[in-house]
């Protein structure tokens, strides 16, 4: 959007919304919306406390381990599905099913199987992220130009060369797209897991703050979470754009 011929940057309207929030907060219209400035002050206070840092660590740990497994398992499985018709036909119905299934319903099962702790949260995170990564890697391989593969074969490429020099790179834009969406889903998964299991990480903090009506604390944690997830998503989108120059003409 342009104002007086000057182009406003994309997300700049968020500042306007923040201002609105501050005003509503200052007017004390509702107890649930404290002024933004007060929330930031609280954030500075709790940002250095042990509980907060511990929650951040636990969440980060679950998140990264969960997405790590999702990528390390998801990408090769997806590539294999794209290359091998039999594997594809056997796995695809399940992948599609889990992609659209409400995975929240599985969390109670994970709780009874793996306990009320980190392990269940990690598995929840992986489950949220992995299916889209598999599907996108598969799609990436399926759209590979046949003649790229034939070119490599005609120069006598070994299967290993074909995999690492052709398939992986040619599918990379889609793989990265899948990983980006996988990350976003994983953030949601890790929070949903913590909310339902609610003894570790931010889940416990939310419980604590909301039962004591500590609104500023609650919002402070929310803002941290939203900011982190937004930054992660943007970084991956940037990475994806960097390889997308060749996505159009493989």
């Amino acid at each position: 959007m342009k104002v007086f011929g000057y182009r406003l940057p994309g997300m700049s309207s968020l500042l306007l919304w923040a201002l609105l929030w501050e005003i509503v907060g200052q007017m004390e219209l509702t107890f649930f919306l404290p002024p933004l400035s007060a929330i930031f002050v609280t954030l500075m206070e709790i940002g250095t406390t042990k509980v907060f840092i511990k929650a951040l660590q636990e969440t980060g740990h679950a998140f990264f381990v969960g997405t790590f497994f999702a990528i390390v398992i998801g990408v090769p499985v997806g590539i294999m599905m794209g290359k091998n018709r039999l594997i594809d036909e056997i796995l695809l119905p399940w992948v599609n099913m889990f992609l659209s299934a409400p995975l929240t319903a599985l969390v109670p099962v994970l709780m009874v199987l793996f306990g009320f702790g980190l392990k269940s949260i990690i598995i929840t995170t992986t489950l949220f992220a992995i299916w889209i990564i598999v599907l996108n890697s598969r799609a990436g391989v399926l759209q590979i130009n046949r003649s790229l593969v034939e070119m490599a074969l005609s120069f006598g490429a070994s299967p290993k060369d074909a995999f690492f020099k052709i398939y992986f790179w040619a599918a990379l834009p889609e793989i990265l797209g899948g990983v980006r969406i996988g990350f976003i889903r994983a953030v949601k998964g890790v929070i949903i897991g913590q909310l339902l299991i609610s003894v570790v990480g931010f889940g416990a903090l939310f419980e604590l703050y909301s039962s004591n009506f500590l609104m500023k604390h609650f919002w402070a944690v929310l803002i941290v979470l939203f900011t982190i997830s937004f930054i992660i998503a943007e970084c991956l989108a940037w990475l994806e754009r960097r390889v997308s120059y060749y996505a159009a003409q493989r």
Partner: protein, 253 residues
Amino acid sequence: MRYRSLFLNFVSASIVFGAWEIAGRIPVSFAFPTFIESMSAFWVLIIEGTLFTAYAETLRPLVIGVVISTVLGVGIGLWIGLSRAFDWLVSPIFIVMQTAPLAALIPLLIMIYGIGLTSKVFVVCIMAMPVIVLNTSAAVRNTPASIIEMGNSFLGSRRDVIIKIILPAASPIVFAGLRLGVSAGFIGAILAELKITPTGVGDIISYSRSIADYPTMYAAILSIILLAVVFLNVLERIEITLFKGTRRNYVSD
């Protein structure tokens, strides 16, 4: 050849269910019933009618939430797609909502709206709406300029151009967004039942877990997953028949 895919589906289902049965027999965990046990619990749930009353309960916030999200979401998305200023003002909020773990808002919603239907509807809405809005706005914005210019050159009014050109051109992607929205709505509805108050299917799951009736718990979970998958597949079929031939590439979540 025609039966190949059917046969392979059958094979892969037998492998998975067979593995489940075996894992249940070993058993890998005291909380892991066999496939057959779960299926008979499923059968009992159906015969006693528990499942149907439960779904009547579960589907209420889901349906209300999805309807609200659809109406509001498509409306807002359309407006964003048509107006530069509104786009600048509003889309960042939905972009943030799309990437953020909105489930974290649930404790807050409980505080504000209590543990009733309103909270649950809200949960469904915040999960379903962003993807609907973003898909709609992207679809509207990406309407090929040439067909809009065509409409203008034949002296179509602004209203005509929107209703007769932009909306039909955008509808495949809007519909795909709706499907993704419903999918997210399902996640929200279950989350609400597990986190806010156990009602409906959430109640069966929580209750059978508390009395360690694991077969029933697995059956209930399986039923909700099946329901969601079948429903979303039906939506996808409708989408394919409605928009045959139009290329579907949509903003995914």
